[in-house]
Point group: C2
Chain length 242, copies 2
């Protein structure tokens, strides 16, 4: 048995990745519990709020990997490590175990905590939180995350956009990291309450923001940005575990 | 003035690419007129049926490039060459002109006609038509297209899926080209009539096929496939020119 325990909120899939660089790709998701942030519009409160802590299961890396292999039928695919903030957890051993079996690992974090095992990831998505989240960005920490990833890991940026201030924030992020792919994602104004796993979503509102964003990047001639909605939200609404 | 004239059905953008490998990326679209196929569910009949031929404008490569530069504000981005079947048209000079200005070129074709200038494309999407199209596949022609692209062009496959037979066809295509990314795209059962540019779409039907496809690739453990809807159809319906 190796090292520390991972606090797991849920493991599910395979389903398709609904966001960002790996959109549409079959993926098993390992969602960890706990977050150092409290974003106003967090859509995974069940993996953030310590009120749900008793639903988070401490698991060894071996146990997590076993569950992933059961779900994937033992056939390698991409494992998405998300949260909460998965950078809180000791995930290095899990990544090594999975790599030995041919699995790929993508991790998404807000970029507030850098870990040396970021360099073993296949894809690191840094999702710095814009003003509408109510959180303050620490650009230095984000830089440490990019640094930790190193040359062997594909690093991309993803910014959730609700309004003009968020959009300006994303432009700033892009200016700081001109060589990284940057994904703009319209925010979901109607995130699910943790106790309501099947909550309805405001599809029209999300689509309005999507059109607005496409118009913005077009008229600003910001052609290096990529604009993508949360596909899983469009397909399954706020239904959890798909 | 260089070479032959290009028959252009429409030039529009920038908007985001709604499908496949470049999904979400700001793009100007050059849609050419004319096609050697007649797919049952063709969603661009206005660029296929010769009844609309008088709406296709013969343009020099310079004139097309000028229009692209006006739309993009002179700032390079990806130009998507589509149709109809753009492989019918003499597009080599256009690609060279645009490359000289820093533009990138992606082309989508069914793979029935190989052209030597495919090797100058940045991305070539081959979209062999499945049984539901009513067309017969010529694998030899498809192989010639892959061959024509050569090492400098990213080649990807995209297959529209309506039913089980289409899915089996896609699996066959994947087995023939294990090294190419393959995109599965749920078909649109309610393509617009050419005279109805704003036709409503059966969103629920498309989403049903999307969920069905995700379930299929998951239960078949076909993890190298990527499943993506036509994003522009979800966002704008059948509205043309966005
Ligand atoms: S960083 Fe992510 S998981 Fe943490 S509170 Fe914000 S949205 Fe929720
Ligand atoms: S190949 Fe494409 S453009 Fe031609 S008829 Fe078929 S769907 Fe329409």
């Amino acid at each position: 048995m190796s090292g520390d325990l991972i606090r797991v909120s849920e493991i599910f899939g395979p389903t398709i990745q609904g966001e960002g660089a790996l959109i549409g790709q079959p993926t098993v998701f390992v969602r960890t519990g706990g977050c150092d942030y409290r974003c106003k519009w967090c859509d995974t409160l069940h993996a953030v709020d310590s009120a749900y802590r008793d639903q988070w299961c401490p698991m060894t890396p071996e146990a997590v990997m076993m569950q992933v292999e059961i779900l994937s039928g033992g056939q390698p695919l991409t494992v998405s490590l998300s949260g909460g903030n998965p950078a809180i957890q000791p995930l290095g051993d899990l990544i090594d175990l999975g790599h030995a079996e041919g699995y790929r690992f993508a991790l998404e974090t807000q970029g507030s905590i850098a870990r040396d095992w970021f360099s073993t990831l296949d894809v690191l998505t840094l999702s710095p939180k814009p003003p509408s989240s109510g959180m303050a960005i620490d650009w230095q920490k984000l830089a440490e995350c990019v640094e930790a990833a190193g040359p062997g890991t594909q690093v991309v940026l993803k910014v959730v956009i609700f309004d003009e201030a968020d959009y300006a924030f994303a432009r700033d992020a892009a200016a700081r990291y001109p060589d990284l792919m940057l994904y703009l994602q319209p925010g979901n104004h109607t995130p699910p309450a943790p106790e309501d796993a099947n909550g309805a979503i405001d599809m029209a509102g999300i689509m309005d923001r999507m059109r607005w964003l496409v118009d913005k990047v077009s008229s600003d001639r910001w052609y290096t940005a990529t604009v993508l909605p949360q596909l899983h939200t469009l397909i399954w609404g706020n239904l959890r575990g798909v």
